[in-house]
C-alpha cells in the first residue's frame, strides 16, 4: 500500500518521535567548542539524532566483536577493543584506553628506560 492514511502516518512519526536525547544538552556541548558561533535548528536536531545512532552503533559493534558475547555482557574492555580495532571509532582511543595490568605497565616502563639508556 503506497497511500498511508494521514492519521496513521502522524501516529508513526509521533512514535518514532525522533529523538530521546535532550537537544538543549547537545547544544551546550556543541557550543563548548570555541570556534562555533551559531547552529541552526535542523543542524541541532541532526547532531542529536546522529549521537543516538552513534551510541547504538558503538554498543552493537562492541558487543558483536566483544568477548562477552557468550556471557551476554558488554564490558569496558569490549569498547576499548572496538576503539582500537575499528577505523571509524579510532577517534575514541584517547578516552577509551585499553586497560593493562600495573605489572605490564611497569615492565613497559622498564623497557622504555632501557631504550633511553641506549642513547
Amino acid at each position: 500500500m503506497s497511500q498511508a492514511k494521514p492519521d496513521k502516518d502522524s501516529q508513526a512519526s509521533e512514535a518514532k518521535k525522533a529523538i530521546s536525547l535532550p537537544i538543549s544538552r547537545v547544544k551546550l556541548i556543541m557550543k563548548s567548542s570555541p570556534d562555533v558561533s551559531s547552529i541552526n535548528q535542523d543542524a541541532l536536531f541532526l547532531t542529536t539524532k546522529a549521537t543516538e545512532l552513534f551510541v547504538q552503533h558503538l554498543a552493537l559493534t562492541s558487543f558483536n566483536n566483544g568477548s562477552g558475547r557468550e556471557a551476554n555482557t558488554l564490558d569496558y574492555s569490549d569498547l576499548a577493543k572496538t576503539a582500537e580495532e575499528t577505523d571509524t571509532f579510532h577517534f575514541l582511543t584517547d578516552i577509551l584506553p585499553k586497560k593493562i595490568l600495573a605489572r605490564e605497565y611497569l615492565k613497559s616502563l622498564e623497557q622504555m628506560e632501557d631504550e633511553d639508556a641506549d642513547f
Binding site: S20, S33, L53, A59, F63, L79
Partner: protein, 146 residues
C-alpha cells in the same frame, strides 16, 4: 558556554535506554561500559561539531546547517547514518510545520471567539504569547554573543 563540567555529559538514563534498545534482550551492560559509551557520545558530538564547522567556515557561513552536519558524517565515515538522518529530518520538519499550523489555527480560533466574547480572555492570551516568545529570544541572543 557550559558552567560546570557535568553539563557536558549526556543524561545517563537516556543513554542506558538507547544502549538497551540497540542490543539483544537480556544483555548485561556494565556500569563502566555505560559511562564509557556516554563519554564517547559527548566526544562524538564535539568531533561532529568541529567537522561540520569546518564545512561552514569553508562556505564562509557563521551558522551550522543541516548540510554541514551531513557532510561531517561523511567525513567521519559514518555514511551509514546518512539515510536514517535524512529520513528523521524530514519527519522532524513535517512535525515542526504541523505544530506551527496547529498553533496558528488555535490562535485564529481563539481570536474568533474573543471577538464575540469579552476582552478579558484576549489579554490573557496575549500574556501567554509573550511568555512563549521570551525563551526563544534568549536563545537568539546567546547565539549572537558567541
Amino acid at each position: 558556554m557550559a558552567e560546570r563540567p557535568e553539563d557536558l555529559n549526556l543524561p545517563n538514563a537516556v543513554i542506558t535506554r538507547i544502549i538497551k534498545e540497540a542490543l539483544p534482550d537480556g544483555v548485561n551492560v556494565s556500569k563502566e561500559a555505560r559511562r564509557a559509551i556516554s563519554q564517547a557520545a559527548s566526544v562524538f558530538v564535539l568531533y561532529a561539531t568541529s567537522c561540520a564547522n569546518n564545512f561552514a567556515l569553508k562556505a564562509k557561513r557563521k551558522t551550522l546547517n543541516a548540510g554541514d552536519v551531513l557532510a561531517a558524517m561523511e567525513e567521519m565515515e559514518f555514511e551509514r547514518f546518512l539515510e536514517p538522518l535524512r529520513e528523521a529530518l524530514e519527519v522532524y520538519k513535517k512535525d515542526q510545520k504541523g505544530k506551527k499550523e496547529v498553533s496558528e489555527q488555535k490562535r485564529k480560533d481563539k481570536e474568533k471567539k474573543n471577538d464575540s466574547e469579552n476582552d478579558k480572555s484576549r489579554e490573557d492570551e496575549e500574556e501567554e504569547e509573550q511568555r512563549m516568545e521570551e525563551p526563544e529570544e534568549e536563545a537568539d541572543e546567546e547565539e549572537v554573543e558567541n
